[in-house]
């Protein structure tokens, strides 16, 4: 065991090495590692945030889709209702029109009938008067009985 000046020299070397490590090796390494750790943590956080956002927006999209579907079905049902209504309306109008035409036709027919009846009556009354004239020519003065004859013709 020969302890000598080597000890002092080694101690100095050791101290110098420690100081060197302390000043030039450790801080940049620590800095690099901590920066990277922070970056990774930030990246992970950003990824997490992105995922949450994606989830939210897909939920929103699904909601919008559902809403659109509902609206479409609403519009569809409304359109169907409207179509039936239009058909119903058309049916009603057609029926009314038909009725109107029928009524008009009936009225015309009635008129025709009345006219024919009138014509017939006139003819009958003329015939009757003619017949009566022929029968009564001898004994009835046309002038004297014109009133009666007119009344009869009116009654017919």
């Amino acid at each position: 065991m020969d302890i000598g000046f080597t000890l002092v020299a080694q101690a100095i070397a050791f101290f110098v090495l420690i100081v060197f490590t302390m000043k030039f090796v450790w801080p940049p390494l620590l800095n690099a590692i901590e920066t990277r750790q922070k970056e990774i943590a930030d990246g992970l956080a950003a990824g997490e945030k992105g995922r949450a956002e994606l989830e939210q927006s897909s939920k929103r999209a699904a909601e919008a889709l559902a809403e659109a579907k509902q609206k479409a079905s609403e519009i569809l049902s409304l359109a169907e209702k409207r179509a039936t209504q239009i058909v119903e309306d058309a049916k009603g109008t057609a029926k009314a029109e038909g009725d109107r035409i029928i009524t008009g036709a009936k009225a015309e027919i009635e008129q025709e009938i009345n006219r024919a009846k009138e014509g017939l009556r006139q003819q009958v009354s003329t015939l009757a008067i003619a017949g009566a004239e022929k029968i009564l020519r001898k004994e009835i003065d046309a002038k004297a009985h014109a009133e009666i004859l007119t009344a009869i013709a009116q009654e017919l």
Binding site: M1, D2, I3, G4, F5, T6, L7, V8, A9, Q10, A11, A13, F14, F15, L17, I18, F20, T21, M22, F24, V25, W26, P27, P28, L29, L30, N31, A32, I33, T35, R36, E39
Partner: protein, 268 residues
């Protein structure tokens, strides 16, 4: 020459266990072990220089494989220190721990160099005596342990103040009663003496013993064909086992350094 000594076992061993000394003054203290100094400084400069070279180009982005390796080392040391010391470890203790670990590991690893090949190679260039393992020199381990010891006292005074430190010397661990001050002081004295002793001798003993066993196996290998085969096989086995010892002793030395420095910050 190594061959002259190799004729006798004691000559072989003493040749391999003697330092390359250089007197720089009067008395045995003023001699330096050139081999120890050169090897340790070389290893320290190479190791920390390499790490520094990698760290200089360190990026916070995707690390290169070199940087990833250094970061692995960083993480390993940092984790150990984090578990023991709860102050601001980045300012001193963690870098010191890293230095100790890397340096001691490399100095221990010099044990893997085949001693006789190194001796022959150096003898060829005129260097007769050379011990490659700086940690099997008590000077190195004591230097490290004493540096840690002074740092320990420095941090203790820095954390508690000079008065606080002296107060602790006399008033812990048994109590503040003046009657037990001597007991406390004796206790602390023993602790302060035993810390650097156990710290340095543990490493020294392990590395020295490892070296001696390699030498004994080398001796055996010199006795003939059987000895050579047995020595080679056992030498390989011991080398493999020694990998564990080298790493373990470096780790233990680092952990003790951290523990001592952390304890200095704690008040009792």
């Amino acid at each position: 020459m190594a061959t002259e000594h190799a004729l006798t076992p004691s000559g072989y061993i003493s040749h391999h266990l003697s330092f390359n000394t250089q007197a720089i003054g009067e008395g045995s203290f003023w001699t330096i072990h050139v081999d120890t100094l050169v090897m340790s400084v070389l290893l320290g400069v190479i190791a920390m220089g390499l790490i520094w070279w990698v760290v200089r180009g360190a990026t916070a982005g995707v690390p290169t494989k070199r940087q990833a390796f250094i970061e692995l080392l960083f993480g390993f040391v940092d984790d150990q220190v984090k578990n023991i010391y709860h102050g601001n470890r980045h300012s001193f203790i963690a870098p010191a721990a890293m230095t100790v670990f890397v340096w001691v590991l490399l100095m221990n690893a010099m044990d893997f160099l085949p001693i006789d090949v190194v001796a022959k190679g150096l003898a060829a260039v005129g260097i007769e005596k050379w011990r490659s393992v700086p940690t099997s020199d008590i000077n190195t381990t004591f230097a490290l342990a004493l540096t840690v010891w002074f740092l320990m006292i420095f941090f203790a005074i820095k954390a508690k103040g000079l008065g606080g430190w002296i107060h602790e010397l006399f008033c812990s661990p048994f109590g503040t009663n003046p009657l037990i001050w001597p007991a406390n002081f004796l206790f602390n004295l023993i602790e302060y003496v035993s810390k650097p002793l156990s710290h340095s001798l543990r490493l020294f003993g392990n590395m020295y013993a490892g070296e001696v066993i390699f030498l004994l196996l080398g001796l055996w290998a010199a006795t003939g064909v059987t000895g050579t085969i047995a020595g080679a096989i056992l030498g390989a086995g011991w080398s493999i086992f020694h990998i564990l010892i080298v790493a373990l002793q470096a780790f233990i030395f680092m952990m003790l350094t951290v523990v001592y420095l952390a304890m200095a910050h704690e008040s009792h």
